[in-house]
Amino acid sequence: MNQLKLVCQGVACDRGGRRVLNHVDFEVGSSEALIVQGPNGVGKSSLLRVIAGLVAKAHGSLELEGGMAERSVAEHSHYFGHLDALKPLQTVLENLSFWRNFFEPADFGDGKVRESMSEMEALETLGIEHTASLPAGYLSAGQRRRLSVARLLVVPRPIWLLDEPTSALDKASEEVLLGLIADHINAGGVVIAATHLPLNLPNTKFLNLSPVTTESEHMFAGEDLDDYFDEDEQDEG
């Protein structure tokens, strides 16, 4: 079986006119998990969003070896962020089947798309099958979260990008989720998770991010410009 390998080299990214990531390098392959750690505001979420193709990188390269050639990294990935992407006026089942039908599945590097769960199987796995015909607006925060997880189960994609995956989940649901993530890893998937809390996952690597001191060149804050502004001062002062 072919192996997937996500290689990230020298990635930098700007958000809000500020450099939040610089020189990020890592490799993570099939059946591996990468846990992204670091203090608040260090760019954990930004890194996941760069991989998901939602935020443009300023420098560096991000490549998936062994993936489908014509597809980007983002198109191999599931992104599980803070927002649940649910429409409160549609039923739980409508919400889930929309994403199941809409998302393009991706193979795990072996050239064939895997079978995925049906909507009801996924809801059962997560213990919310009784809500299937209710509008999603009636769900509690934890249930919404679980419905959001169900999306990852109904469309096969090898890379899971998880941003604080256990937030708003109780102990039992967290166990279920961790079990699902572990299953995904064991099935040859790739997991990249940003988290504060320790996650008990097999085959784990850690990536520690630290605050960036370089400025975005878009903000004209570089060293060479200092010379200009200093000269300016000497002339005028």
Binding site: R49, G53, E75, S77, Y79, A85, L86, Q90, F102
Partner: protein, 222 residues
């Protein structure tokens, strides 16, 4: 089910379920058309002369009304992120969303036009022409509106700015739409030229609208 059909159905359902759906746009259209006679006086001859323009401006304003939510709702609940990384062409996604939006809000306006035409004293031929030009031109309004909606997607109160940005883009559509409707009523030879220009603008909007809106949505990713 085909993903395009799936997206269309969902967008259409949501547009109809949220905030009164089609009805609210038609009501606004009715309100705009109603205030014109109060402004210019109940002179049926004058009204029938400017009737086509009133209906077109009413339709333009009613189209602009709901456009700010076109992508904003998706951005707020996180759906937009998933649409971007779904592996589907974002341009096509935008086009389908526009189509659904048009079907849910633009089409009812077109259907209401013959009825509202009676209030401004249009004769039968004019009613047909106005309805026909709106049927062809309203999609173009939605498509240029989508560019404005994409550009203002990250703004909390982007509705007014959207209108300011979109109205200049809508001027050519209005010119050819109203010209075709009014000129055609007098002399059918004058109808074809502006009408074909209107068709051209709609086709042009079909290309430029999704391209520009999708580019704006990609930029607004963070």
């Amino acid at each position: 089910m085909n993903w395009m059909k799936c997206l269309f159905v969902r967008e259409y359902q949501l547009a109809n379920r949220v905030g009164g759906g089609a009805l609210i746009g038609v009501l606004f259209f009715l309100a705009v058309v109603t205030i014109f006679p109060f402004g210019v006086g109940p002179d049926m001859i004058l009204l029938s002369r400017i009737g086509a323009a009133i209906l077109w401006i009413g339709a333009l304003l009613a189209t602009l009304l709901g456009l700010d939510r076109l992508f904003q709702a998706d951005r707020e609940d996180g759906s937009l992120e998933l649409l971007v990384m779904s592996g589907r062409s974002l341009e096509l996604v935008v086009l389908i969303k526009c189509a659904a939006h048009w079907a849910a809000t633009g089409l009812p306006l077109v259907l209401a036009t013959p009825v509202l035409s009676l209030f401004v004293g249009l004769d039968f031929q004019s009613i047909v022409l106005v309805t026909l030009t709106l049927l062809v031109g309203a999609p173009a309004l939605t498509l240029v509106g989508a560019v404005g909606a994409g550009v203002t997607v990250s703004m909390r109160r982007g509705g007014v700015l959207l209108s300011i940005l979109v109205i200049p883009l809508a001027i050519p559509i209005l010119i050819f739409g109203v010209s075709a409707a009014t000129a055609g009523a007098i002399d059918s030879n004058n109808f074809l030229v502006p009408f074909l220009f209107l068709c051209a603008l709609t086709l042009f909007g079909l290309v430029v609208g999704p391209l520009a809106a999708a580019a704006a949505l990609r930029v607004s990713g963070d």
